[in-house]
């Protein structure tokens, strides 16, 4: 603009400036870290009133503070208690990929929990008996229906969402025969019975 000896043209028409970035953020790219957060507000709740009552009761059992909420880090367990098997990653995604600090300190109320639970229940890739058996069959070297307990322990502690030794011990208690082998079909049946 050819300045006609004016100082800077002041009146910039007071437009509602769309949040002038204070020179810090280069591009407002959200850069979804692990997975894009789920839009829980669009989840349609399909539970019956009875179910909601049951869920509310279970939810309440986990509330140790008495504020009718539970901590982020309890959500996975409540879902498990209610018969679901979410991966930690699925739960994290539902919670908006929280930090470790958030997991310990942020809390969720029941109404916000319901769409999370509904999402998990609606999730299409739920594993059934065959899926578990097939997954374990990969480690059945001799094709005889058993896997080495020791190998299974290593897999559980090094792949996927690693389990701790304590978790593995609890899981495998009484499952290995005298040769340290696990009959994985029986094992899966046992797992699915609870």
């Amino acid at each position: 603009m050819a300045p006609k000896k004016d100082p800077k043209a002041p009146a910039k028409k007071a437009e509602p400036a769309p949040a002038p970035a204070p020179a810090a953020a280069p591009e407002p790219a959200p850069a979804p870290a692990a997975a894009p957060a789920v839009d829980l507000s669009s989840v349609k709740i399909e539970f019956s009133a009875d179910q909601v009552d049951d869920y509310r009761e279970a939810f309440g059992l986990f509330d140790r503070v008495g504020d009718n909420k539970v901590a982020y880090n309890q959500i996975a367990d409540i879902m498990r208690a209610l018969g679901q098997n979410p991966t930690n990653k699925e739960v994290s995604k539902l919670l908006g990929n929280p930090s470790a600090d958030d997991m310990a300190n942020k809390r969720v109320e029941f109404e916000a929990f319901l769409p999370m639970l509904q999402t998990i229940i609606n999730s299409p890739n739920k594993a059934g008996f065959e899926d578990y058996v097939e997954g374990l069959r990969v480690f059945d070297k001799e094709g005889n229906g058993t896997v080495m307990g020791a190998e299974l322990r290593i897999v559980l502690s090094t792949l996927g969402e690693k389990m701790t030794e304590a978790e593995i011990d609890a899981l495998m208690a009484g499952q290995e025969d005298e040769n340290g082998c696990v009959n994985y079909e029986a094992f899966v049946k046992h797992i699915m019975s609870v």
Binding site: A58, L82, A127, M148, A150, G160, M163, I191, V194
Partner: protein, 84 residues
């Protein structure tokens, strides 16, 4: 976890075929995560059942919930409903 990427992992453990564990395979990891999710679900549910050693029978015939005698987590679910 020192040499998890090398061919020869000069580890003295020959008992388990650690080489066979596909640490970097996304499919294997995805499958493992599903199995682990199932296991964790099972363990949480088992932990919440009354500790009376009878699998499948949570409540005694008198209708009393058999609370575990130790401090207990106090998280007993209404077990008359099927959550599956």
């Amino acid at each position: 976890m020192d040499c998890h990427n090398q061919e020869e992992c000069s580890r003295p453990q020959e008992e388990e075929d650690i080489m066979d564990i596909p640490l970097d395979d996304p499919e294997a990891n995805r499958a493992a995560a599903k199995i682990q999710a199932g296991f964790r679900g099972h363990m949480t549910r088992k932990k919440m059942k009354p500790e009376d050693k009878t699998e499948g029978e949570e409540v005694s015939s008198t209708g009393d919930v058999l609370h575990s005698s130790q401090g207990g987590s106090g998280e007993r679910l209404p077990s008359h409903h099927n959550y599956a």
